[in-house]
């Protein structure tokens, strides 16, 4: 039995097709990454899985149950970590978690015990009786997660759970996701941070303009671009002296991206053009600090498939 099965799902807002005839299958025990830029249709898809939005066409099955007919039964087994932190600033951490967990039928001492466990899990034990209005962004994000897991859901949906937080909190959240998965929950993790998806997800679907443009394990996705390599040239000096068009004229160069003082050049494996790339920099009198031959990543996959960066 699949944890989630989506068949030919479509959602329109007027003339705009937010989700365009997508089909997906997510296995029990997976950490499934839904990757795509803002507006790709990730949140709309999630809102349909959780029953917040109706479907225009297609079907969703969660744990073998039709989402159209078994809404409450499905909801009882889902924990949602919304993209926007959804907590009450005038309730303590414990009160927040207890309130949301109580909506799933927990009561009395069991409710309190599970709430405390969820706060311990997210590293907020010391702040159990504190009001979130004094919390940092990272702590609020962790409380946002605690509110979603106290009822021990079988499926946890995390919609961009690390937006706008510091590196330490992000690391803590990613570790939490992996631990929750080890404890038996299936995770759907949406993000436009490619490195997060690469770090934790067992399988990935890439969405763009409402469609799933690629799906599989990271290895399978990378295989889409096995005929490519990536050369990263670190320079000292002004990057604005580099003309992307001129670099693209070098035979074998597929795409060029400039990120601060690093020039990322995707090349065809069939043509050896490293000497010509180096020649370009020396001719322009741009000092090279370092050259790396990088393995392609999901960002490269997305760039190859759509011609755009994930965070464009």
């Amino acid at each position: 039995m699949k944890m989630v099965k989506i068949v030919e799902l479509t959602k329109k807002y007027g003339d705009v097709i937010a989700v365009d005839n997508i089909s997906l299958e997510i296995d029990v025990g997976e950490i499934f990454g839904l990757l795509g830029p803002n507006g790709a249709g990730k949140s709309t898809t999630i809102n349909m899985i959780t029953g917040l939005l109706s479907m225009d066409k297609g079907s969703i099955w969660v744990m073998g149950k039709d989402a159209r007919n078994s809404t409450n039964e499905i909801k009882r087994n889902i924990g949602i970590v919304p993209q926007d932190v959804g907590i009450y600033e005038d309730l303590t951490s414990l009160e927040n978690v207890m309130f949301f967990a109580s909506l799933y039928g927990l009561r009395g001492s069991e409710l309190k015990k599970r709430a405390i466990e969820a706060l311990e899990f997210t590293g907020l034990t010391e702040h159990i009786n504190n009001f979130p209005r004094k919390f940092s962004g990272g702590m609020k994000r962790r409380l946002n997660i605690a509110c979603a897991i106290a009822h021990r859901p079988k499926l946890i949906i995390m919609d961009e759970p690390t937006v706008g937080i510091d590196a330490q909190s992000r690391k803590h959240i990613l570790q939490s996701v992996q631990m929750l998965n080890e404890m038996g929950s299936t995770i759907i993790y949406t993000s436009h941070y490619m490195e997060e998806v690469e770090e934790i997800c067992t399988r990935v679907a890439i969405m763009d303009y409402g469609k799933i443009i690629a799906e599989g394990t990271q290895k399978e996705l990378m295989s889409i671009i096995t005929d490519q390599n990536s050369v990263w040239v670190s320079i000292s000096g002004e990057a604005d002296r580099i003309d992307k068009t001129e670099l693209m004229e070098i035979p074998g160069v597929i795409s060029v991206e400039i990120d601060d003082n690093t020039v990322k050049i995707n090349n065809s494996n069939n043509i050896n053009n490293l000497d010509r790339i180096i020649h370009y920099f020396t001719e322009k009198d741009i000092p090279i600090k370092n050259i790396e031959n990088k393995t392609p990543d999901l960002e490269t996959v997305f760039l190859t498939l759509t011609g755009r960066k994930l965070r464009d």
Partner: protein, 376 residues
């Protein structure tokens, strides 16, 4: 329905922790009662009114039994300063009252045995007083007639008892008329109560602005459970706030609230339901926050003014008095005042029904809009 409890408790916590709103809803009305009670005391007569000038005309076309009882009634009313004069001409009696020569005209008839009362609104308070006296007389007369029919032996005891003390006087509370503090304790409380609609509205808007509404909807809780829990929480806190103001006015300011406190609290509770329902409906139907607050701040002063919340209705023109029927506050205030000063329960069901029927309509609209909303 099991999820109403957690939503209700959460709502109570929000409201109890909103210090500014609580201060506004408790201290502000108290301050207003104190200020207006002192500043406008000249608009109100002092605690007792002079009844010496109350003139009532009557025609007795009833039988001798009724006449005998009514004569006793006239004697006792005379001790209170209500002077009855007899006329044989009923048309003349009605005309004299129309011309305001008399406060009221009473017509006693037999077959069927009825007592008709014609009042002149110029003597509103005096006429109400006579009406209350008459009501008490009729009740007592009917009771004695019933006893005479069913158990004549007990009649002597009853009559002895009534001879000792005239039984209507107690209900009139010794000719009391509201002081400015008495008046504004009621009027300000029912006015400020209306502003609890902001609490109802904020309760709905809060879930949208905090992004918690969607989170709640992702759980296996039904929309009507959320709505009922939230509305009940707001109503409870509004009633608690009102009780604080009520107790302060009664115990500290010595405002007079009469003897039917339980019924008055029931009327206030029905207004709390109305005001929270109004705010909830605004919260659901008007998406723009500024516009929502604007509507509340426009509608409430109008219905409060029409309800006599700022100055007594009888000091305003006839047009305003006629228009006042559209204000639920008018019915609420009227019911409370008549209950306090006339022991008149007749407006209680009307005021409670007006408040609850409007509330039901507003909650129905809210639930329809909420049901249609997918994502908050």
């Amino acid at each position: 329905m099991k999820n109403i409890g957690p939503v209700f408790i959460k709502e109570l916590k929000h409201h109890l922790r909103e210090k500014k709103a609580n201060i506004m809803m408790i201290l502000f009305p108290i301050a207003l009662i104190v200020i207006l009670g002192a500043a406008l005391s000249s608009m109100f007569n002092t605690t007792k009114i002079e009844l010496d000038g109350v003139k009532v005309l009557y025609t007795n076309m009833g039988g001798s039994q009724l006449e005998q009882a009514f004569t006793g009634f006239i004697e006792q009313a005379g001790k209170m300063g209500v002077m009855f004069e007899e006329t044989d001409d009923s048309n003349l009696g009605i005309e004299m009252v129309k011309q305001a020569d008399y406060s009221c005209y009473v017509l006693l008839k037999d077959n069927p045995r009825v007592i008709r009362l014609y009042k002149n609104n110029r003597y509103n308070f005096e006429a109400n007083l006579v009406e209350t006296l008459l009501n008490a007389f009729v009740e007592r007369y009917n009771a004695i007639s019933e006893i005479a029919r069913e158990n004549p032996a007990a009649l002597a005891d009853v009559m002895d008892e009534t001879d000792k003390e005239f039984y209507y006087i107690k209900s009139l509370d010794g000719k009391r008329k509201p002081t400015s503090t008495d008046y504004y304790s009621v009027a300000i409380l029912t006015m400020v109560l209306m502003y609890s609609s902001i609490a109802g509205m904020s309760s709905i808007r809060m879930e949208k602005s905090l992004k918690t509404g969607n989170r709640i909807l992702c759980s296996p809780v039904k929309k009507h459970e959320i709505l009922i829990g939230k509305v009940m929480g707001c109503i409870m806190i509004t009633i608690l706030q009102s009780l604080m103001v009520f107790l302060f006015s009664k115990l500290i300011l010595n405002a007079y609230w009469g003897d039917n406190i339980g019924v008055i609290i029931a009327i206030i509770a029905s207004e709390a339901i109305l005001t929270v329902s109004f705010g909830t409906c605004i919260g659901f139907t008007i998406k723009n926050e500024g516009l929502s607050v604007g509507i509340i701040n426009t509608v409430i002063p109008i219905i409060v003014m029409l309800g006599g919340g700022y100055v007594p209705l009888d000091t305003m023109g006839e047009f305003v008095q006629k228009l006042s029927v559209v204000s639920p506050i008018k019915w609420t205030n009227q019911a409370i005042f008549r209950l306090i000063y006339n022991s008149d329960f007749s407006y209680v069901p009307v005021s409670i029904a007006v408040n609850l029927i409007i509330s039901a309509l507003l909650i129905t609209v809210s639930s329809i809009v909420y049901r249609k909303e997918a994502v908050w």
